[in-house]
């Protein structure tokens, strides 16, 4: 049987984690290729619906990462994001969505190693939990595929 290769999307802020991931590269630290980054100006910009869309489109795991508290480039975006995640995680958990599959982290522009760790640990964890069948089952309906196509 072929090993399960999880699809993991990382939503990161431009100023800290994106730069931290750049540093991981500059330092040639290796990490798993399962994680792909989408860049945002700030964690404050990351709408909770973006996370829902990722699961719907087949993501098995999600990483959300930004500047450490008090380090936000926009001073307060990550504070607002943190509140949003506290509430959203509560809601997801209550509706039976596996919050283990969303890894929130603070990774600064200097934390190249930490970024590699976050990516590798998350990949390892998702690999162990397995594909997100619950969500995929309802998402991979023909209806959705058709509708997805109209969005192009």
């Amino acid at each position: 049987m072929q090993e399960f290769e999880p699809k993991i999307v990382a939503f990161v802020c431009n100023w800290c984690t994106y730069a931290g991931a750049d540093l991981t590269g500059t330092s040639r630290i290796k990490y798993s290729a399962n994680v792909k980054i989408i860049r945002f100006p700030c964690t404050g910009r990351i709408d909770f619906m973006i996370l829902m869309k990722a699961f719907e489109n087949g993501a098995d795991g999600i990483i959300v990462s930004g500047c450490h508290p008090n380090d936000c480039h926009y001073s307060t975006g990550n504070f607002h994001a943190r509140r949003r995640w506290i509430v959203f995680r509560n809601l997801l958990n209550f509706t039976g969505i596996d919050t283990e599959r969303i890894q929130f982290s603070w990774v600064s522009a200097a934390e190249g190693f930490k970024w590699a760790d976050v990516v590798n640990n998350t990949t390892k964890k998702i690999r162990e939990i397995g594909p997100y069948e619950n969500y995929n089952k309802i998402a991979v309906s023909t209806l959705f595929k058709e509708e997805g196509a109209t969005n192009e």
Binding site: E56, T95, G96, Q103
Partner: protein, 267 residues
């Protein structure tokens, strides 16, 4: 003639208000909302144990707003709705004439926000114990059991949007469900579209829900929708110290922050 009818008639006659939102008898002895604009219509007003609907939602309806200066028969949930709407700049102080029906049937007038705030401070605004128990029951399940529970519930949803129409906080002219550039929420009422819709709705009401329960009451498919938003009320209060609909100038829990907000999941 009841005190209520007398009062409303007087208010209409001296033009304090142009219309009064209250309850009347509907078909099959049910209670429904009435928008009394004339003395004759005011005669139809009733007030009894079945008058439990939160009428504040009507304050935000375009058709009702058009009627001019409004009066409303409010219960506790409606008072809180008015407070929350005020904090979101949807109602100005003194704009709405509020009559509150006390448990003994007597009426209290509220002409400004301050008096409503003071009143709410000493009023029980919590979630009913049976709903608390239901939430506790769900919380004691495993994640997967909860998933199956809600999946089964959402399966019933026909996307009629009665919940949205009944909710006093769903006053947007254009709901996210209607946004199609991009189409965040699939239109069809299949499992995914329903899940998306209800998660979105719950999130948009987080920190704003005044636990009136109109969404669940309105649902023709009997989905316990109110639990989704109720369940967030206590954590938001415990973590951020915020309760919706208690003050007219309250700050919204999700647009404010404290540098030392506590969480245990960010690494």
């Amino acid at each position: 003639m009841s005190d209520l009818i007398k009062k409303v008639t007087a208010l209409l006659n001296d033009k304090t208000i142009n219309a009064f939102i209250g309850y009347e008898k509907g078909s099959a002895d049910r209670i429904r909302a009435i928008f009394a604009r004339t003395e004759d219509q005011a005669q139809k007003l009733v007030l009894n144990a079945f008058c439990t609907q939160n009428l504040a939602g009507y304050l935000m309806k375009h058709e009702v707003k058009k009627l001019g200066k409004l009066g409303i028969l409010a219960n506790v949930a409606a008072l809180r709705s008015i407070m929350q709407l005020a904090s979101e700049f949807q109602i100005k102080d003194g704009e709405v004439y509020v009559l509150f029906a006390n448990a003994d049937g007597s009426l209290t007038e509220f002409t400004d926000f301050k008096s409503i705030e003071t009143f709410l401070q000493t009023t029980d605004t919590g979630i009913k114990s049976e709903e608390q128990e239901m939430i506790a029951k769900l919380e004691s399940m495993t994640v997967n059991e909860r998933w199956l529970f809600w999946n089964k519930e959402f399966e019933k949803c026909i996307k009629c949007y009665a919940c949205r129409a009944a909710c006093p906080m769903c006053y947007c002219h254009r709901c996210t469900t209607d946004v199609n550039q991009p189409q965040w929420i699939p239109v069809a009422s299949h499992e995914l579209g329903n899940l998306d819709y209800h998660l979105m709705r719950a999130m948009h009401l987080a920190g704003r829900c005044v636990n009136c329960g109109e969404c669940a009451t309105a649902c023709p498919m009997d989905i316990p929708l109110n639990l989704l938003t109720y369940q967030l009320i206590n954590p938001i209060k415990a973590t951020f110290g915020a309760t919706a609909g208690m003050k007219a100038d309250a700050m919204y829990a999700l647009s404010t922050y404290k540098p030392d907000d506590k969480e245990n999941f960010i690494i």
